[in-house]
Symmetry: C2
Subunit: 433 residues, 2 copies
């Protein structure tokens, strides 16, 4: 069978990994795909930038139009990132009759409808296994392997940088600033880590998974997100004392035909599977109405893990599977029936609440009274004696509630933050169990 | 598009689950498969046995030949189990031009070559996601999602019954006999649990995974297996004291072009992912040379989890993916290049060794000398004072070694079992880390 001709747009970390596999593992690719996977062009901005010696300079070009006009390029692999240029490259590729493989969750989360519509118009395929959770085959799991199921919930550790920082804080008792600095030193966090630590990256990935699992088209702005950038080591310690760990989770739940979603630090029981996911790993727990609970874990980023998923998509295209999957999934299709979005206020959860309160009698009673007036009952309390008995003005008070609707809890919180003797604002996280 | 016509052979637990999904979720199936999945016949031995009221008696027949001769049956789902009749049903179905979906690991492990050859001869497909680890999509993961990789190791908790018993023993301090009785009472173990607890079932599943991951055709007799049926609660306790848990693992490793495999109770570090897999869950950790470490977890058996995988295969067939995957994987193909089998004696591991020794000076020194003479060094030792100081004749001595080849360790063990003062045979397990 004829070779599958491939062009890469972007030759950074992941692009270099993809190029190396295609160039150095030709025999394996032939055996897995049944035809050669031939890398024909690599489009870059700066042709003279030093690159891995495995990348032949003869493949390098700055002229994207040569890709569009080359009938021997069947697939464009978009690895430039961002949403502006990437969108243009992807749309032009599809209109020129190329299939597209992309690792770009921001592009799909923000312009998915347009991209998939262009693919359908041109009878071409967009494959995006690498867009969520790096080397973890979560797109295939939800899109194909769980096809007998209606997905009922998705809970994911989808940002390796945040998970690395939280793991370091919990294990070594580091502050957020110290753990971030170490993550940057080791290459797990970028110089500007904002999109990773504020929850935006995880929200993009959750957006992609929610569309796949629930057929829901979620404006990014409507996904509530709380990052780890304001997390305090104190709360990791109290969580530990209660038998929990704190992880940045991206969660979506289906309930009575509606889907609620958020990205937030969440308390997980110490012996749960997601609680064990350490360092830069990603993991996704998916509940299906037929299968029950399943979990998928692996490296969430990096050159070779992400390249593994990109190349899996290329093999799927070469074999002809990806085209059938894409046709069948009807992703982002205007007419496809999906679920509607539900307010997080209606989601029921347990809550962790830490208040700094004046060290005087009756504080716990007052807080408990407010919670009770919102039908929230208390499951456990931690209040230690102040270490410094001479001059301590305030003490931490930690409360774990029983399950209650988020909206009611938030209203109670507004009142608690106004109580005399409470040093507002209180810290709170939801508890997954 | 025309309906995909389906016949079930066998209507026990899983068959009932598959029938219910096909009959009650028709609209979902149509949307996922792009065409109706139509259940046309259910072949059973005993037509009058009481069944789930959801199963229409009009579909029930005892005559398999009506399936073969019905041109509107495109797929035969084999769920009878065992290897004799199942083999016959599957081969006849393929020769009659039907695709086959099966959950039968024993059939594939023992007659895979014949079954797959018959499929190729007749240009039909055999799909078998449900044959390993119930609802966990491990066949798709290794066969498709990790296609860019050479798998380098597989470590799986593949028998839910064994894992349920080991979890109960560790959590509640139960004896093996008590935990087994509880598992039987709750339906997690059969009246005759032999194939589950002696490692045979896990070995069959490992055989299927090893062929998929390594292209190796392994005679079942050549997979070393140690079950959990002789496990002693004492060793679970010592393992815990050392920071480990004991799990029944099915393992295969690729090393220098050869594959070693076994099924055995293995010590796992308490905070490893596989150590967290509790009760009847299954999990498989797969290392790929590109992606690194990935893990897949879910319910390992049961009506609906297994049905979820069977129906995923049916949808794959309806969409046309399964046919392409089957063609491409060239499974069990005589000419396909695989790896050769390697003796477990060459596998390097750490070891846990528990001896019952006379309570006299010098015993540890003698055991250590034998280990040293086989170049095995000791990492840690537990020797408690005997509880009963009045009449204790022997005490347990627990040794964790550093890494050493299994062959050398076994030879050392032979010598240690002969030592005066050692109450042979010693108990030993390998340590995964």
């Amino acid at each position: 069978m004829d070779a599958l001709g491939i062009a890469l747009i972007g030759c950074g970390t992941v692009g270099t990994g993809v190029a190396k596999i295609l160039l150095e593992r030709g025999e394996r690719m032939l055996s897995r795909a049944g035809r050669p996977l031939e890398l024909r062009r690599i489009v870059v901005r700066d042709p003279v930038r030093p690159r891995d010696p495995a990348i032949p300079t003869t493949l390098i070009t700055t002229d994207f139009s040569t890709v569009l006009s080359d009938p021997n390029v069947h697939v464009v692999v978009e690895l430039v990132g961002g949403t502006q240029k990437a969108r243009q490259f992807v749309l032009e590729s599809l209109h020129a009759g190329k299939h597209v493989v992309t690792a770009n969750k921001a592009l799909l989360a923000e312009h998915g409808t347009e991209v998939f519509e262009a693919a359908r118009q041109n009878e071409r395929t967009v494959a995006f296994e690498a867009s969520v959770a790096g080397g973890v085959p979560i797109i295939a799991a939800i899109g194909q392997s769980l096809a007998a199921n209606q997905v009922t919930s998705i809970q994911g550790i989808l940002n390796g940088t945040s998970n690395f920082i939280l793991t370091a804080m919990a294990d070594k008792g580091q502050s957020y600033a110290d753990a971030l600095a170490e993550a940057q030193r080791l290459g797990y966090a970028e110089a500007d880590p904002t999109l990773d630590v504020d929850g935006s990256d995880a929200a993009h990935k959750l957006g992609v998974l929610a569309r796949l699992g629930f057929g829901i088209d979620v404006p990014m702005a409507s996904i509530e997100r709380i990052g780890i950038d304001r997390i305090d080591a104190t709360d990791l310690k109290f969580a530990q004392e209660l038998g929990y760990v704190i992880k940045l989770l991206a969660e979506a739940w289906l309930n009575q035909g509606q889907v609620a979603m958020h990205v937030a630090p969440v308390l997980l029981r110490r012996n749960s599977m997601l609680a064990q996911v350490r360092g830069a790993y990603n993991a996704i727990q998916v509940m299906g109405d037929v299968v029950g609970e399943t979990l998928y874990m692996g490296p969430g980023a990096g050159m070779m893990p992400t390249a593994s998923s990109v190349v899996a998509d290329l093999i799927d295209l070469a074999v002809g599977r990806a085209q059938r999957t894409f046709q069948q999934l009807r992703l982002w299709e205007a007419s496809a029936q999906g679920f509607s979005l539900r307010s997080n206020d209606t989601v029921t959860s347990r809550f962790y609440l830490r208040l700094q309160v004046d060290d005087r009698p009756g504080m716990l009673a007052e807080v408990a009274r407010v919670l009770a007036s919102h039908q929230i009952s208390i499951a456990s309390v931690i209040q230690h004696e102040p270490r410094d008995t001479t001059g301590a003005q305030s003490v931490p008070l930690v409360i774990m509630t029983h399950a209650a609707p988020t909206g009611g809890f938030r209203r109670a919180l507004d009142t608690i933050n106004q109580l005399p003797g409470v040093h507002a604002p209180c810290v709170w996280y939801s508890v997954a169990d």
